[in-house]
């Protein structure tokens, strides 16, 4: 047996970012063990690892590379996602500074380590060219998240969220695995290229297996990215999780889930994608509508953002419904904007959160008078989420809608536009509470300077991207062109 068929030094270079991140995570844990656990040091080490991983990831972004005998595929698409994850991870770590202490738990090295592991899992998901790798990446991500959600060991809400997320996640994993098994049964292989070959050559064992397999795989993803009616865990889990983790939870897995879905349907099932368009249509319409309408009546900011993120998943599914180069690049753009904005918003929420306060919309009354800059940033985030010009959110929504319109999904786009209208209402409710209420705010915001600097940077970036989106658009178009 010739081992070089499966493993060469090139493969090792290919997964260098993952290796670096693993080493970083282990060093963080070692530092924790040695009681060198000053938060600043740990953050620095983790950030260093993330930067290094990013540098190595860009280093590998030449032509398309196939690693480990077809297990991984590296291209601009996967590199784009690598960067997205690294950015999300870095921002989460920065915004988490001081949060755990505030919630009565010591700052622990496990926290950054688990985030790093989650990033590895996500990277694998979008680099995968094999169902086995997607499965492992997904589980690595999910396991880390279960622990992160339940990270406040002495907080009942956090425990409960952890358990709910774990049980539902495991339930979904069961469906996902059954789907993977049936797909394997249908095609005789778990490799995407193999599946494509089997479908085009019609050497499928039985169409039924394939059909059930795709359906169940889809359900597994639908759980992870919270599509209606598989979304019901998300408000509960988002509410109970530590707020900084919630920020991570509503951005990273969504990005990875959609990235993996795009690859799956654009590579493995590309020939039968059209059969599933009705399902995507329905999922999209239901998800955005129910997510938005439920968000309307929330009073808890975290729950509101949870339902809002459900509705955003509905918009994103439009991109997978259309699935051409334009729509994929629109999805990528949307994901960047959505992730960064949500992280910023949750950073502000986590700064405002206190014992028994700071999570209700009413608590934000009159905040603008006390913290004009933070409120301005929050306003920009909300406008961006609502898709309001001239923020980046508008460009994102616009690109997605026009991609759908150009393929003739006018009905769906009308639903989407109506939903955007509804969403304005609840996003602006927070803004109105901050600006247009007389009451003196009694919230005492606790934050680190670094976090505030980054919140400001995100806000400025959203405006700049809304006015001149060209640079990011170029990147996403290039990334999308490698898979489309």
């Amino acid at each position: 047996m010739d081992i070089s068929q499966f493993f060469t030094s090139a493969d090792l270079f290919g997964i260098a970012p993952e290796i670096i991140l693993t080493v970083t995570a282990l060093s963080v844990l070692t530092l924790e063990m040695l009681h060198v656990s000053r938060p600043g040091i740990i953050l620095m080490v983790a950030a260093l690892g993330l930067f290094l991983a990013g540098a190595l990831a860009i280093n590998t972004s030449g032509d398309e590379q196939i690693l480990f005998g077809g297990m991984l595929v590296l291209n601009r698409f996967s590199v784009f996602f690598d960067f997205l994850y690294i950015t999300i991870g870095l921002l989460t770590l920065i915004f988490s500074q001081g949060y755990l202490e505030k919630r009565g738990s010591a700052s622990r090295g496990e926290y950054p380590a688990l985030i790093l592991f989650a990033i590895i899992g996500m990277m694998l998901m979008t680099r995968a060219n094999d169902l086995v790798i997607v499965f492992l990446g997904l589980e690595l991500l999910s396991l880390s998240l279960y622990i992160l959600v339940g990270f406040l060991r002495h907080d009942q809400l956090s425990n409960e969220s952890g358990l709910k997320y774990l049980l539902l996640g495991a339930f979904a994993t069961g469906f996902f695995l059954f789907g993977a098994a049936l797909t394997y049964g249908a095609a005789g292989t778990t490799n995407y290229n193999g599946i494509v070959t089997a479908i085009t050559n019609n050497t499928i064992l039985s169409d039924t297996y394939l059909f059930l397999g795709i359906g169940l795989l889809l359900i597994g993803f639908a759980f992870k990215v919270a599509l209606v009616p598989f979304h019901m865990w998300s408000p509960d889990v988002y509410q109970g999780a530590p707020t900084t983790v919630t920020g991570f939870l509503c951005t990273a897995p969504k990005a990875a889930g959609f990235g993996a879905l795009i690859i799956l349907f654009n590579r493995a099932f590309v020939d039968i994608h059209y059969q599933w368009q009705d399902i995507f249509w329905i999922l999209s319409a239901m998800t955005m509508t129910i997510g938005n309408i439920s968000a309307l009546i929330q009073h808890n900011v975290k729950r509101m953002l949870a339902f809002s993120s459900v509705s955003h998943a509905g918009f994103l599914i439009m991109g997978i419904l259309v699935l051409n180069e334009t729509s994929i690049s629109a999805v990528l753009f949307y994901l960047v904007v959505y992730s960064v904005v949500n992280l910023g918003a949750f950073a502000i929420v986590s700064a405002a959160e206190q014992e028994e306060r700071g999570l209700n919309l009413k608590d934000y009354r009159g905040l603008a008078a006390q913290h004009p800059w933070l409120s301005a940033a929050m306003t920009i985030f909300m406008l961006s989420l609502a898709g309001f010009p001239p923020t980046a959110g508008f460009v994102a929504k616009f690109g997605l809608f026009s991609a759908a319109v150009s393929q003739g999904y006018i009905g769906l786009v009308i639903i989407a536009v109506l939903n955007t209208l509804i969403s304005i209402y609840y996003y602006l409710r927070l803004v109105v509470n901050m600006y247009m209420q007389k009451e003196e705010s009694t919230l005492i915001l606790s934050y680190k300077m670094l976090a505030i600097v980054f919140v400001g940077l995100i806000a400025i970036m959203m405006i700049i991207l809304g006015i001149t989106p060209g640079y990011l658009l170029e990147i996403v178009t290039e990334a999308a062109s490698t898979v489309a």
């Binding site: 425990n159 409960e160 929330q298």
Partner: protein
Amino acid sequence: MVVPLEHVIALSMILFSIGVLGVLFRRNAITIFMSIELMLNAVNLALVGFSRYYNSVDGQVFVFLVMTLAAAEVAVGLAIIIALYRNRQTVNIDEINLMKN
């Protein structure tokens, strides 16, 4: 002589459905967990059946990985259950609902 592939898959599906039923039926978080294990085992059975049919090792490697996952998930799950039990003195899923609209 071995049984036809479809019979193995049928058994796997039956076990899977029973597992789903258990998840929906039980009130005790631990037994819910056990039902999830049952679902995973059903998947394993299907994978082994397919592997046998195709005369390839891929399915079995998959099983191997699923087992790893099952072990890991159980460990984390039980740890969360223990943490919860410490704070709440219950593992009854009906009582674990502080969060609702």
